[in-house]
């Protein structure tokens, strides 16, 4: 198992976020989250719902990239034109995404960096669906490069997704749907189980120390059990290879390092 990559370890760890979610749409945006959701559906959580990446619901997750002769088989229909009614505003979804920034409250940013809203220094995508996703359904995150530029000191530059920041909560609003679950990075797995939903390190990838994670993070982290993130088993690796025949996962983390560091 020495040839297991860190990306594969992350996929396996991230797939755990989708365990026991019930019949919800599992959306993984980007190769690692998408493979994680697909792996979860094919192993421990067949009840998950999933799209083909466009508009149709599939019971057999669709592999990444050009498909050759493979034709996705459609079991249902969930286009954008009814996505909010059916999946987001009903809370029947769990999304795993990669924002540009995240802060100690779990507030996320996909909109802009620096400057002002009238004239940002760097314009990014825009808030997309983050405000609705975060107030209505569970969300998890994947970051391929754990740095203090991503895990920022203070607050994110533009709060695009709801977190656990009491100062941002308009009194009388219903925040019962805010449910941030898991953060998987190239260094560790974290959750929001600390004091007042503070971010807490729950497992460290092989060879990584808590101090290393803390040094790469712009705010203080809490310590959970600090176990070692498990390596994917042979079944999981086989499924991942099948779902990603072009090895797109190899391009996600810089230099595609092995899961176990060569010291």
């Amino acid at each position: 198992m020495t040839d297991v990559t860190l990306a594969e370890l992350c996929i396996f760890a991230a797939s755990e976020a989708f365990r026991n979610n019930g019949e919800v749409v599992a959306t993984g945006v980007g190769p690692v989250p998408r493979l994680a959701a697909s792996l979860a559906k094919l192993t421990h959580s067949p009840e998950l719902m999933m799209t083909d990446g466009e508009a149709y619901l599939v019971e057999q997750p669709v592999p990444l990239g050009p498909r050759g002769d493979y034709k996705p088989k459609f079991a249902g229909y969930l286009p954008f034109s009814r996505f909010f009614d059916s999946a987001v505003w009903s809370g029947r979804r769990h999304a795993m995404v990669t924002p540009t920034q995240i802060d100690r409250f779990g507030q996320i940013n996909l909109s802009q960096l620096g400057g002002t809203h009238k004239q940002p220094k760097t314009q990014m995508l825009g808030v997309r669906g983050f405000p609705g996703n975060t107030i209505y359904h569970p969300n998890s995150f994947f970051f391929p490069a754990h740095t203090s530029r991503v895990f920022v000191e203070g607050e994110v530059d533009m709060v695009s997704g709801v977190g656990y920041n009491p100062a941002k909560r308009v009194p009388g609003g219903n925040y019962s749907g805010v449910d941030l679950r898991v953060i998987v990075t190239n260094l560790c797995v974290m959750d929001f189980g600390g004091t007042n939903n503070a971010i807490r390190v729950v497992s460290l990838h092989p060879g990584v120390t808590f101090d290393e994670v803390q040094a790469a993070t712009g705010f203080p982290l809490e310590k959970g059990a600090l176990t070692e993130t498990p390596l994917p088993d042979a079944e999981a690796l086989a499924i991942i290879a099948q779902l990603d025949p072009h090895n797109i996962r190899a391009s996600v983390i810089k230099d595609n390092p092995p899961a176990i560091r060569a010291n």
Partner: protein, 292 residues
């Protein structure tokens, strides 16, 4: 007038400076690009554009046509950051109202139903309300919940590209997803559609496809046949997006990135010229549908 056929120039002549214009489609998909190009050939200016943005927004920003943009994202998918939109934003050139994707369609629905706003939880706990001047309302019922009052996004006009229409404005929209075109049509005082195929009487040609009529002809003011009218965006099942064309367009935004110097390549003197420059109808028809 039951015969709603117009030319693209007729449609643009019905638009005016300073108006609020909705543009259908989503990112690089199902965009009425031929009508957008016709606007780019005109003197129209100071527009408020309401769109799930792609190159439509990028081009109108680059050409200095946009006073204000109402958006949730602007993206070309495989080229995630729309480069011309980005330039306009980083130059502080346009006013914006930034919204969540779901709030956006909620605002179109408020406009369609003629109510001043619709309540939603979306936006609470984020910077959207403060940046956009969005106000809250309190539920008058016993729950007393505080909600954001998403204002109606009333459109003076909407532009859509559809798969087919007849001259009365009986439209058919198909492909895997038609996004929020229905609600753009209903939120607008006037909706102009370009189509891949124009037929005389829909019932004589496609009587078995009436479920594709996702909004009714009372919402259609004008119709023009413009095959390949979504290029370079995708128009399933007829053609996919033209990523090579998007890439050339994105590359042209790099320094010095002067739109006036490159606009001819992406707009053309006429739609016929434009289509020729991208290889004609056959080349567009051969563009494969995207894989997700």
């Amino acid at each position: 007038m039951l015969d709603k056929r117009m030319t693209a120039a007729d449609i643009v002549s019905q638009l005016h400076d300073g108006m609020t214009l909705g543009i259908g489609g989503w990112g690089p998909r199902r965009k009425p690009m031929a009508l957008v190009r016709e606007i780019l050939r005109s003197d129209l200016k100071d527009l408020t554009i309401v769109a799930y943005g792609g190159a439509d927004v990028g081009m109108l920003c680059a050409a200095g046509k946009v006073k204000k943009l109402v958006f949730a994202f602007v993206s070309l998918d495989a080229i995630p950051l729309e480069p011309w939109f980005r330039k306009a934003r980083e130059a502080g050139q346009i006013e914006v109202l930034e919204l969540d994707e779901g709030m956006f369609q909620w605002g179109l629905k408020a406009a369609a139903f003629g109510v001043p706003f619709l309540p939603t939880r979306v936006g609470l706990g984020t910077d959207l309300a403060a940046l956009g001047g969005l106000k809250t309302v309190t539920s008058p019922y016993s729950d007393g919940e505080t909600l954001i009052a998403m204002p109606a996004l009333k459109l003076d006009a909407a532009l859509l590209h559809v798969n087919r229409s007849d001259w009365r404005g009986n439209v058919h929209l198909f492909g895997p997803d038609v996004y929020y075109d229905e609600w753009f049509a209903k939120a607008a005082a006037k909706t102009f559609v370009s189509c891949e195929e124009l037929v005389d009487r829909m019932e004589d040609h496609y009587p078995d496809a009436a479920q594709a009529n996702i909004f009714e002809r009372c919402f259609v003011t004008g119709v023009v046949e413009m095959p390949c009218g979504a290029h370079p965006s995708s128009m399933p099942p007829s053609y996919g997006w033209d990523m090579k064309a998007f890439k050339a367009y994105a590359d042209a935004a790099k320094e010095p990135g002067d739109w006036a110097a490159v606009a001819d390549r992406f707009v053309g003197k006429s739609e016929a010229d434009y289509l020729n420059s991208v290889g004609g109808k056959e080349a567009v028809a051969a563009l494969p549908l995207p894989i997700f």
